[in-house]
Subunit: 412 residues, 2 copies
Amino acid sequence: MTAGTDLDADLAPAAAPGDLAAVRRARAWLSRAAEPGSVAVWRFVERVGPVQAVRLLRAGAAPEAVQALVGVRAEQDASLADLHRAERCGARLVVPEDDEWPALALHALTVAVTSGGTDTAEMGDRTTAPVPPVALWVRGAGHLAEVVDRSVAVVGARACTTYGQHVAGDLAHRLGERGWTVVSGGAYGIDAAAHRGSLAAGAPTVAVLACGVDRVYPSGNGALLERIAQEGLVVSEWPPGSAPHRHRFLVRNRLIAALTRGTVVVEAAARSGAQATARRAHRLGRPVMVVPGPVTSAMSVGCHELLRDAGVGAVLVGSAAHVLQEVGRLGEDLAPPAEGAPDARDGLSDLAVRVLDACPVRRGVSPERLAAVAGCGVVEVMQVLPALELAGLVQWTDTGWRVAPRPKGTRR
Amino acid sequence: MTAGTDLDADLAPAAAPGDLAAVRRARAWLSRAAEPGSVAVWRFVERVGPVQAVRLLRAGAAPEAVQALVGVRAEQDASLADLHRAERCGARLVVPEDDEWPALALHALTVAVTSGGTDTAEMGDRTTAPVPPVALWVRGAGHLAEVVDRSVAVVGARACTTYGQHVAGDLAHRLGERGWTVVSGGAYGIDAAAHRGSLAAGAPTVAVLACGVDRVYPSGNGALLERIAQEGLVVSEWPPGSAPHRHRFLVRNRLIAALTRGTVVVEAAARSGAQATARRAHRLGRPVMVVPGPVTSAMSVGCHELLRDAGVGAVLVGSAAHVLQEVGRLGEDLAPPAEGAPDARDGLSDLAVRVLDACPVRRGVSPERLAAVAGCGVVEVMQVLPALELAGLVQWTDTGWRVAPRPKGTRR
């Protein structure tokens, strides 16, 4: 960073475009002056570069649509103060020009905003537009791109049930054990449970906030956010001190979806924000995974609606193994099939099953009797009896054939 | 029914093929002599007619494969006794030649067995073959075809949880209230809860058994089966007195799937019979519906596996409305969308949301201040404020604009 405090001087043509300090300060200014999530601003910055973009906006010479979005903020400059404030809380501004910028993960947003330019309805609304961040304020020691490389979003209701809390925590813990980073929103409920489960597994977890990384929001999660900053990362598009305005959560959600390989929704009420995050992940081509719950629980209604919505293509998941089946690399993270006790009858022919069913439990009977009960020939009965005896299913007694007593603890 | 007791005399060529009594006695004989579920027997009976089929089998002159399936039973005749026994318990034998034969419902089985003749692996196994019944023993006053016309199968685990019991009962009750018949297997657990829920709604319910309609199986459901016979129907392919051999349940399950417009699985353990019924319903082209549950519940593992199996195409359902969406007639039984409180912010432009978020809760501020916080021009602020005021979201005070106090019980 340059030592000067006059932004306009710092950004004067004398500063080479490759000057990372100038670029960082320019992007710091943009992150406050232009509310994140705007397609027009992002495109403008991409086109002219961050330093020139700031210079033009400051001079009121940017294209009208962009200038209007910045409005009166063009006259203000808190960029240096923001960078200092970030430094004081152990944060830094990560910019696309940095090595640790998660370019690969954010590529989906870049593609969406570059190719989807015709859909003005979606692009005009910053709460739904898929647009990459101009910069990211990051609190924590980890290398951002590396931490989110193998990551899954675990999101859900704030007013969750103990069931949801348990499932989110357990899921995050098991994902953490397998080397996966859990990304969530730092909120109460499912978010907090997911972060905690991940931390308990000694894994880095990432909280993507809708306010400044120095804000303690929600207030009850102060200790948790502190621990995340120590062992994982706290990330935000908004500069330090920014308040968590409601529409910022919707803008923030696209980032959670984009940074991760897939989104898991654990508990969501009808028409909830978690559903919106899931739909956004789907539009970005990321797998949407949903944990079901009791149909009698209001906190699972949103989950079930997602699973019923063929347009989302959500996959039902009940374990970390299921999640890794969707996002993991082939042959590395495969889910085992559901457990079920082995059954001695499996693989028996229809005839063998009928003969077995015809066998009495107590007093043995003749093959002729078995044939009459099973509705087949005596020869057929004689053919299948040896196999049934070998499988330990029938036994020969003084009076004839009967069902063999079952060993304890097995199913028949 | 003819008064005679000598089957061979009754079936002599003198008896016209159209003689319904002779046909009924022939099918009664077939239902005991040939274990239900056999494709070969059904095809033989279709080809030569029931009366001639019995005549040939009795004489040992049927095709070898069919004769072998009947085996020593060809020499026995309990048909008249079975018909009398049925009569004594208020049952009758319904045959395809009867008006109340559910031909439309069973059409899927007829198509499957007629077209699928090449798949010998499936056809050879009576536990999986889709084959129509030769006759149905029916206990209860209702008209079989009419009762099952608008019907849904509700099946699931015997060792169900109170959650499953509650959901099955409630679902069946609501389906009953809307004029739908619930078909199940008369077993403990989900089956019993479904039957009970349907009866509580004053709707006819159908128990399809894997044993004789006069058998009290399982023994603890005696009173329930009695009530079903009084208010609904108890149905079986097996003649009175037949024991519930295990493989008969699998054969029976195809009938539950075929008789109904769709199958709902409420709770199922991994690798359970309910899953098999669901897969069979899918193969018959019937919708498979699955009620999810907690992922921590072993009794929902089978349900979730079904929902994860893309090959089954199972639909998640949480209410009777969801079920009717799958099986109901269009415009008659449509599910309402999930409930969610209306939100005054819905439909607001991105700009309006930003201005609203910029409004303080207590002390009102000037439009200029709002513009600075929202990051837009003062003119834009002035443009959206009237709409926000009309919507009751902001209000003018001595000091300027602020958020309007929220009326109780609404979401903002």
